[in-house]
């Protein structure tokens, strides 16, 4: 049996470890919000960057829109491929080898450092195919990174929510594809949407895949896919490492954090409604 002092020691140690981690976590959020909120103004949110060097004055509006465009597009690429491949694994593949191959590609891609997608994207799209740095190239590079992010989650969702229904549906003499469209996808829609939204948030915060494939120091809001764009995380990176403006860096970090947290809260709230709440879009009100 342990001595009382030793027991007390263990308890104190665990409390200290726990408190320090929680404090650091809280501290990070509070610090960004505190430092950033003082920079935020309407002009910071709604104007383009200006000043000499550029970024010392004005705002980050083009970067906000650019980040959203890029996140949406990359999220779309990643989700379409990821969910499609997951459906293939769970429902349509009859060969173990093919299933394993896709599974391996999920794990391989998920293990790659984000810079690899920048490196490959830059080499293939910009060098090899001679494309210009653009929203499209950056979104493709980031989208590749999101394939396993969505795919692994989608596979789990479809397995858990779809498989029990598929056998039942097959017993009614109904084709698998019909069952997937009419039954499985509607049932797992919210969860698949959540996975895609989280992927979008993840893509929005990434710098490594887009720093040489599409993001630039200054650009207007892109009107076409083949134009370069401004991105909040890249803008933040430049402001900090080039020492352009620490004040504006706080503001940019704040805006980026808020955008990502909004998506996270959105995802959590639909999860909440689905789990415990009464919110059921398919239930008619009497």
């Amino acid at each position: 049996m342990m001595k009382y002092s030793k027991r007390l020691g263990v308890r104190i140690l665990l409390f200290l470890l726990g408190f320090s981690v929680i404090t650091v976590t809280l501290g990070i959020f509070v610090y960004v919000f505190y430092k950033g909120s003082s920079v935020i103004s309407l002009s910071f949110l709604l104007e383009g960057p200006s000043g000499i060097p550029i970024g010392t004055d004005g705002g980050v509006f083009p970067a906000i829109i650019g980040t959203l465009y890029h996140g949406l597009l990359a999220g779309l690429f990643g989700s379409l491929i990821g969910i499609g491949a997951a459906m293939y694994i769970v429902f349509f593949s009859r060969h173990r080898f093919l299933r394993n191959l896709i599974q391996v590609s999920f794990y391989f891609l998920s293990g790659l450092p984000s810079i690899i997608f920048g490196l490959i994207g830059y080499t293939v799209l910009i060098f090899r195919f001679g494309l210009d740095r653009s929203l499209l190239c950056a979104s493709i590079a980031t989208g590749m990174m999101l394939i396993p992010f969505v795919g692994i989650r989608a596979q789990k969702i479809l397995q858990e929510e779809g498989e029990p229904f598929i056998k039942e549906s097959l017993s009614l003499g109904i084709s698998k594809a019909y069952a997937v469209r009419k039954l499985v996808l509607p049932v797992s829609f919210t969860n698949l949407l959540s996975a895609s939204a989280l992927a979008m948030a993840y893509g929005m915060g990434a710098v490594a895949p887009l720093m040489y494939t599409g993001a630039v120091l200054f650009a207007n809001i892109p009107e076409r896919l083949d134009q370069p764009f401004m991105s909040l995380p890249f803008h933040l990176y430049i402001l900090v490492t080039d020492g352009i403006s620490m004040e504006y860096a706080y503001g940019t970090a704040f805006v980026l954090l808020v955008l990502i947290l909004i998506i996270h809260f959105f995802v959590r709230s639909i999860g909440f409604f689905r789990e415990g709440g009464e919110w059921r879009p398919w239930k008619k009100k009497n």
């Binding site: 049996m1 342990m2 027991r7 263990v10 308890r11 140690l13 665990l14 200290l16 470890l17 726990g18 981690v21 929680i22 650091v24 976590t25 809280l26 990070i28 610090y31 960004v32 379409l80 491929i81 990821g82 499609g84 491949a85 997951a86 459906m87 896709i102 590609s105 794990y107 391989f108 891609l109 293990g111 450092p113 984000s114 810079i115 690899i116 920048g118 490196l119 490959i120 080499t123 293939v124 090899r128 590749m144 394939i147 084709s175 594809a177 019909y178 997937v180 469209r181 915060g205 710098v207 490594a208 720093m211 995380p233 933040l236 900090v240 490492t241 970090a253 980026l256 954090l257 996270h264």
Partner: protein, 289 residues
């Protein structure tokens, strides 16, 4: 629409593109790194060599960066593990379930933070602290990167170890408490040994993640291509790639050397991750903790 070519087509296309992406990346990694491996050979891993890709007499020694990557990541996991496991223990044994769930989801949100924000905070808080408190001329160093990276790994380690602690508690704790043994004694003598395998698994997985972290580490490590010391500058392979990629020429040996560096890192990374996954799968299969 009974046969639904759209759904089948979507699934098939997704499957093909996922596999294609992997194949393409592997192909380019091998093809682009091959010249460096063939031409530079041992020069890539030379204990006395240097990384001077732009000099008139260039040399491409990536060994310092590989060691720096391994070192920083190890430091990060070594710091994050005790804090993460301790926090999980604290939340599981000393905090009410609901409060614990709140803090867990809070810590979890940390995982959603972009790494560039971590890098930024590391620079303005950690690095500055090193400079003012430790009187270093420049606070950018391996230790700063290790600590920062440790914070980034925390959410992952806390959530995985919380899970296995809960499992271990369900399986062993009540028997132990029923014998009149104190909570703290059970934590040290029962729970901690019970979860040692899953700790090893999450160590591997966390280490694998740390090896690939790019932006945050790059912003605080100082980026000198030299052998790493705890309080000195160094450079990791992802950071090296991110910094120099913009100024390389297509087809140059420099680009190929960057590829070779990444391929070397990936070999290590996938060995680490693979071991972690296998271990985790084995634990799950035999319903161990």
């Amino acid at each position: 629409m009974r046969n639904d070519p759209i759904i089948k087509g979507w699934a098939l296309l997704g499957a093909i593109l996922a596999v294609f992406t992997m194949t393409m990346i592997v192909y380019y990694l091998i093809k682009s790194s091959l010249p460096a491996f063939l031409e530079i050979k041992g020069g890539l891993f030379d204990l006395n060599g240097e990384w001077r890709p732009r000099s008139a007499n260039p040399s491409y020694n990536i060994l310092p960066m590989i060691l720096a990557t391994l070192f920083v990541s190890f430091l990060a996991v070594a710091i994050a593990l005790p804090f993460g496991i301790g926090t999980a223990m604290f939340l599981n044994f000393y905090v009410r379930r609901k409060t614990a769930a709140f803090f867990l989801s809070f810590i979890d949100m940390l995982a959603g933070l972009p790494s560039v924000i971590f890098g930024f905070l590391g620079l303005v808080l950690l690095v500055r602290w090193f400079e003012t408190q430790l009187h270093m001329t420049t606070g950018e160093c391996v230790l700063a990167a290790g600590i920062l990276l440790a914070v980034m790994l925390l959410p992952y380690i806390v959530s995985t170890s919380y899970e296995s602690i809960q499992k271990a508690e369900k399986r062993y704790m009540y028997a132990s408490l029923a014998m009149g043994i104190s909570k703290e004694h059970s934590i040290i003598k029962v729970i901690l040994p019970a979860i040692r395998k899953s700790i090893l698994a999450s160590f591997m997985l966390a280490y694998g993640r740390a090896l690939g972290e790019t932006m945050a580490v790059m912003m605080v490590i100082g980026n000198s291509p030299i052998f790493p010391r705890l309080f000195g500058r160094a450079q990791t392979i992802p950071a090296l790639t991110a910094l120099e990629l913009g100024s390389v020429e297509y087809g140059s040996l420099h680009l190929s050397a960057l590829y070779a560096a990444n391929v070397s890192l990936l070999v290590i990374l996938f060995i680490v991750l693979g071991t972690g996954y296998l271990l985790q799968r084995k634990l799950k299969k035999y319903d161990e903790i």
